[in-house]
Symmetry: C2
Subunit: 267 residues, 2 copies
């Protein structure tokens, strides 16, 4: 299996040194898009088998700065997949009930069941990102969380959940362009929030806490992938490849029946 864009435990990365731009993999974007369409078709087939077999669980975690492409990745890659076998959970500001429990409580509730693909649009990683930048909890508390998270993901992995974590890496300039598009295009207006501009001002602080989260929580059982995401076509292709490769590796099969179905006559 290809390990492209995958972080390695014990080898910390520096986000500033990772390009947000596509490597020149294809002579043109068209070729990449053709490969992507094929991957997507294969994903649909593999998901059908995963669901029918009911043996494995796949958890996909998506994190990014605002306008980083989380929604777009889900829309492009999982279009065509039977929604019965995929559950997307978007983690927003915690509710009162969620705040009354530990921060992993709502996360654990949402993990995929056997046969399912669970997609986290934001995740427990917000609990070591925004809380640090905004000083919402003391250092003593967030420092413990890296370990909690690694142990939690280890338990999920030990009990049959394959975990794929993606950080969609965009440049500050690319974010500006996408924000501007949200302001200019009436169909995109709804995605814009003034609050996003406040977060944008703290770009470097966010890069620092993302880097810490990625480096502290890249484990053999749940490594982070840093995906160059300035070009959407490349982002989709790169994530598509990793998801499909992972499913190929799980090799789900339609279950074989133990009884001889050929002898059954439906009257």
């Amino acid at each position: 299996m290809s390990r492209q864009h995958q972080c390695t435990p014990g080898k910390p990365i520096r986000l500033a040194e990772v390009s947000t731009k596509a490597k020149k993999l294809h002579d043109d974007r068209k070729e990449a898009e053709q490969e992507f369409v094929k991957l997507r078709d294969e994903l649909v087939e593999l998901q059908r088998k995963l669901y029918a077999e009911g043996k494995h669980k796949l958890l996909i975690v998506l994190q990014a700065m605002d306008a980083g492409g989380k929604d777009g990745t889900i829309r492009h890659l999982f279009r065509g997949v039977n929604p019965q076998g995929v559950r997307v959970t978007s983690f927003k500001k915690p509710s009162e009930d969620e705040m009354a429990h530990d921060y992993l409580w709502r996360i654990h509730r949402a993990v995929p069941a056997t046969g399912m693909i669970g997609i986290f649009n934001r995740s427990h990683y917000e609990d070591v990102l925004v809380v640090r930048v905004e000083n919402l909890i003391p250092e003593k508390a967030w420092k413990l969380r890296y370990e909690h998270i690694n142990h939690f993901e280890k338990m999920l992995s030990d009990t049959g959940t394959r975990i794929l974590k993606f950080y969609l890496h965009i440049s500050r300039e690319e974010q500006a362009e996408r924000f501007q598009a949200r302001l200019d295009d009436p169909k995109k207006n709804w995605k814009f929030s003034v609050d996003d501009l406040e977060k944008r001002k703290k770009w470097d602080e966010y890069m620092a806490v993302y880097e810490d989260a990625i480096n502290n929580c890249t484990t053999s059982w749940a490594p982070w992938h840093v995906i160059p995401s300035d070009q959407k076509w490349y982002r989709n292709l790169a994530i598509g490849r990793i998801v499909v490769n992972t499913l190929r590796d799980l090799a789900p099969e339609f279950p074989k029946t133990v009884i001889d179905l050929g002898k059954i006559r439906v009257k």
Copy 2:
């Protein structure tokens, strides 16, 4: 705080060497019962403050052989407490949905919120007890669970949950008497199950796996207590003392208002 009956991390116990009988603490049972009634009154008051303050969470885990006294402990000790602030969760055979997730999924869902006392009547410990005796999962799988459980409880503890774990220790002879009472007394018939006799046949095996669970999962943040439980009055008193001591230690207080309520006139 008294550490009576509390196990110590790194100092494994042998259940066969722990008496199931009360130590002679009181000249007579009556005196013990008087102390218990006072403790129970104090518990009611402490719980009111815990709920009003909404700061701490208390998790009480009860494990025992059949007829060990889990139900009786809850009934005797928490009678009088406002049920709004106490939630008992009885973990039975997992449902299909629960089986489709990791074994800690249903447990995590049921942990107490701030201000609450959560009582587990059976718990995640069944997942290292019955599954071992009945060979439901391979050794490789249950061996990992001690660590999962310790890490899970550590995370709960780090995020503000005080955890008290009680093993209600009865003798094989005492179980026989209680089973017989369930057979003889029409009001107790419903508690008897033929399946319990099957488990009773495997008494020594159960003692061995309980011992392993207690020794592997006694941590500084969530130690086990082994409570001599052949005499119900002693079991109630011992657990009552530990629960009340723990609440005293958390020292909940009715919240103080920041505004001057004396100036408010209700018209």
